[in-house]
Every structure is written in structure tokens, then in C-alpha cells.
Symmetry: C2
Subunit: 313 residues, 2 copies
């Protein structure tokens, strides 16, 4: 009898869902909307209903399901309790227990979305072949996840791998979304480099290739950097200096085999790794030099893969 | 039949050795000299001979020995291979295998001394009652060890928990013993605060209680700090700012339950924790606030205890 695993990546806008065969190969993937109204009370029932629908469509019985894995956008303990997902309106409860109630599937594993994505990349993506990786996701914010011996490092408050909130600049006067100042996220997220471009362009009239675009994103910045643009160079320098420093801290603490760089900014390719690695090397002791740096490969599917992997452990 | 474990803490000057009963209670402890001549070739044979002697004295047979644990002053992999102990003149070889050959005891566990001491403190010292701790040892240098779920975090190059070499000041011009600049060890070791006192006293004629001593160590500095001495206040501020920052990095990466502060400087008691914790709190996000801080309790015996604990795992 064929056996299946469901992998779910719960985001603030959509829920990415995947049906996987028992060895972890994907059968089908789809999305549903994340309904956040009424403190997010519909979210898990919607997910359960979508799984039920897929079961019916494919003739899958509950006993054919090995388990369900789910990544959620907030801190979560090792036993699957969310500790508040501000983003979804959720309070404190066990996501794992609730999904079991709703689906009848006993094995439900829940993890923080950034951690789960890191597990997905370690298993099937850019971190393939390494037992331990630190993944950093450069998107709206800077997310992080640490995988040691093939397992997520959760931490006592579900906050391990919060790389984006490493304090990398004690002189900063602006406040980060987390409430403190000088977080890595303030310099190395997609949002941050876009802000730097905007501010840099407004601050003076000096020529820059970046003036040619109505909207400047990481793509335009890294392109202009490649063409020797001065302003783009300054932005990339600040981005890389802080990120290299932050990753040096990660290395000194956990000494993983490799770094995996994901998120929108990483789509600019090898140049992103080159600039980060150069700064990383300046800040680590000899025993931590020459780590492997890889680009993430699974994109938006990383969370789904990681969710499935949690069930297989 | 009674069963025993030997715990060995190999230092650059002496080897601390302990005979423990199977539950981990100490029977007897003693020391031998670390003979470093000829690339440290006598060290392990000396340890084996000392164990043999103790066996004879106590009427212990090899088969009564559950195992031997040993902490060594250098990076070491999870399977017990040292990757060079500059301090002892050692190259690369398996300490565990060599001690098995020399003693006939099959189960030998080897770890880095700072990591092993952290395990000892988590098991029987200041970290008792916590599953995961980060220990920092403030002595000649700044050592670190991370224990997750009761086990040492070794890292892929044996360099996990190298807290002393976190880059905490990118402006530093002086070089650390490790070869890079701005390491935590340059501000928060016993050596560093003694240097700051010496330099502070030489830099001007301003009055300071520290002028009353022929030699100023951490003890005099923390005493003078308690009495409101200005120079001592500046030294303690620099010590604590960098250490609090460094520990905030550790928390953001592994989110352990508690910090344990050991080494000579920690003997100044609760004031040390108070000043570090105040700076720590400034640099961590909400999910990492209010961690427990504890003083180490086992002093020089921590390594011996941790070595025994490795064998019991």
C-alpha cells in the first residue's frame, strides 16, 4: 500500500501544500489562501479540509498517511507549540495537536518556517551533502535556520537561528521591527538594500546607474555593482560587511559545515556569495575559515520539503 | 562488582585525574605533571601509567572500568581526533584510539577542554537543572562551551562554542592570539582587564584605588568598581559591554536556557553576572530576554566531571 506525507508551508498570505510519496518525492503541490480573520481561527481547519479533499481525489485513506509536517511563521517549541504568531493573529497553543484533532493523523510535526526551510535546503537543496548547515534567507527580513546532524536546532524558546536579529551595529539609531537597534536585518535584507538605494539617490546628485530605474531592487543594485557603479558598490559593501560579520558569529557558535544563502536577494547569484564570503573570512578565526557557501535551490518550495523531512525523521 | 570511570582533564601544566564510581560520584582525585617534551609524546603514556597505578592500588581490573573520558586543550572532532594542540606539541591523531591502545579500555571519549568543562558544569555545577547551557570561561583567555540537550556541541571542525573569538569590535587595531583583531578575548579575559588597568593607570595621574596595589587583577578591579572608582568603572564597562554583546550572539544562534560564567574573573561573584546581564539584555530580541545567568561551581574540577559525563552518555 502506497504511503504519503503532507508538507505544509504556512505563510501570511498563502499556504503552500504538497503531497509527497513516502521516500520524499513530490506527487503534487498546490496553494490555498491564508484566511487570517478572527484571530486566524480558519487557518488550520482550511488546511485540514484541503488535505481531506486531496485524500478523496487520490483515494488516500487516513491510515495511508505517514504524517503531516507544517512550518509556521513564528517561534515554536520542539513539541509543536506556537508561542504567538503575531502575523496570523494566533496565541499560544499546540499546532501539532490541533492538526491531529482536525485530520485524524497522529504524526504531526510543526516547526518555525525559517528553520523548516533550512531543513528542506539541507535535505534536497543547496545544503545537500552536508550534515550541518546554517541557512540565511534574505527577503523582506533576514531569517535564519540552523541544521545540526540533519535536525533543526529549535532552541529553548524556539528562537535559535534568529540570525536577522544579531546585533551587528551598536551605533545604530534606527529601530528594527523587533524593537532593538542595529540588527543584521537592518542592513542585509532586501528591504534594507532598497532603502539604502533610495536614501543614497536622494542624498546627492552624483551620477549612478540606479537613477535609470523607476524602482530599485536587489536585482538593479547587484547589476550596477557588477558594472562598477559607485553607489551600488557602497550599498553592496554595507550589505556584505554586516552579513559576513553576522555569519562569522554563527560559525563561532555552532561551526556548521556550510552556509546556504536564500531569499530574493540570493537570486542575484554567485556574486552575492562572493561578497559575503570575503567579509566572512575577515571575521573568523583560522579553525572556521574556508567554509562552504551555497545558494539555496528550492525557492518557495523549501518549506514544504522541510516539513516533509520533519515527518521522516 | 563495582564499576568505575576515569575522568581526565589534560592541561598545559598538569593533568587532573579523577576516579569516579559508576553513578558519577568521585572516589578520589589527583594530579600528574604534563610532560610536553618531544612533541608531547609522554603525555598519554603517563596518563595510562597513572591509571594503571590507581587500578593496582584499588584492586580494579580493566573490565571493571566503564570508560575513560578526557578533555584536551585544542579542537577535537566528535570521534576523538585532535586537530593539533599547539600547546602540547601534538599533531593530528585519535586521542581516543591511542588511550584505548595504552590502557586496554575500549570506551574512551575525548573532547575539547572548554566544552568538557561546560558539560561538567551542566551536569553537576552551575548549570544543574538546565538541558542546554552556554558556558563562558574568563581566564587567561575567554573559552566557551555549548551544551544542547545534555550533549556537547562539537561543530564540524571542533570549533563550536569558540566564544572568545567572536569578532565584537571591528575597529580594533591590536591582534589577538588567534591572529585576527577585535576578538571578545581581547576585552573580557582576566588578561584583558589586567591590561586595561595597567594602561589606564599609566595613561594619566588621575586618582584611583587601583594605584594602591602592586599588582592589579580582576579582584582589585571589581572591588574598586564596587567602591565607585572611576577607572575601575571604565574597565568593568568595557569588559561587560563586549561580553554582553558576545553572549547575545550566542543566544541568537543557539537559544540555550542559561549562561554559566566561570574562570578566574567569575570568582568575583554576583557583581560579574549583574554587569554582564545588563549589557546582554540591551542586545537581544524579546524572545531571548531574561535568560538565566549562573556562576560556575566546580572550579578546576569541571573538566574532570565533564570527562566522566561523556563516558556515561
Amino acid at each position: 500500500m502506497a504511503q504519503y506525507i503532507y508538507g505544509v508551508d504556512l505563510g501570511g498570505t498563502t499556504v503552500k501544500m504538497g503531497l509527497f510519496a513516502e521516500k520524499g518525492n513530490i506527487v503534487e503541490k498546490w496553494e490555498i489562501v491564508t484566511r487570517k480573520e478572527n484571530s486566524g481561527e480558519h487557518i488550520l481547519p482550511d488546511i485540514a479540509a484541503s488535505i481531506q479533499e486531496k485524500n478523496t481525489e487520490k483515494g488516500i485513506q487516513t491510515e495511508d498517511i505517514i504524517g503531516i509536517g507544517i512550518g509556521v511563521p513564528g517561534p515554536i517549541t520542539e513539541d509543536g507549540r506556537v508561542l504567538k504568531c503575531a502575523n496570523l493573529g494566533w496565541g499560544i497553543f499546540s499546532v501539532a495537536d490541533r492538526l491531529t484533532e482536525l485530520t485524524g493523523v497522529k504524526k504531526v510535526k510543526a516547526g518555525n518556517d525559517a528553520n523548516v526551510a533550512a531543513l528542506g535546503e539541507q535535505w534536497r537543496g543547496g545544503g545537500r551533502g552536508f550534515n550541518s548547515i546554517a541557512m540565511v534567507t534574505l527577503g523582506t527580513g533576514v531569517g535564519g535556520g540552523i541544521i545540526l546532524n540533519g535536525k533543526i536546532l529549535t532552541g529553548s524558546n524556539g528562537a535559535a537561528g534568529e540570525i536577522g536579529h544579531l546585533t551587528v551595529n551598536r551605533e545604530e539609531t534606527r529601530t528594527c521591527g523587533c524593537g532593538k537597534k542595529g540588527c543584521l536585518e537592518q542592513y542585509s535584507s532586501a528591504t534594507a538594500i532598497m532603502r539604502m538605494a533610495r536614501e543614497g539617490l536622494e542624498a546627492s546628485d552624483r551620477p549612478s546607474l540606479l537613477r535609470d530605474y523607476a524602482e530599485v531592487t536587489g536585482k538593479e543594485i547587484f547589476q550596477a555593482y557588477g558594472q562598477g557603479d559607485e553607489l551600488a558598490g557602497e550599498i553592496v559593501k554595507e550589505f556584505a560587511e554586516y552579513l559576513g560579520l553576522g555569519l562569522s558569529h554563527v560559525a563561532a557558535v555552532v561551526d556548521a559545515e556550510a552556509f546556504v544563502i536564500g531569499g530574493g536577494v540570493s537570486k542575484n547569484g554567485q556574486v552575492v556569495i562572493d561578497v559575503i564570503k570575503a567579509e566572512y573570512e575577515k571575521n573568523v578565526m583560522f579553525a572556521l575559515k574556508n567554509k562552504e557557501f551555497r545558494l539555496a535551490e528550492l525557492g518557495n518550495d523549501a518549506g514544504m520539503y522541510g516539513a516533509v523531512r520533519m515527518v521522516m525523521e
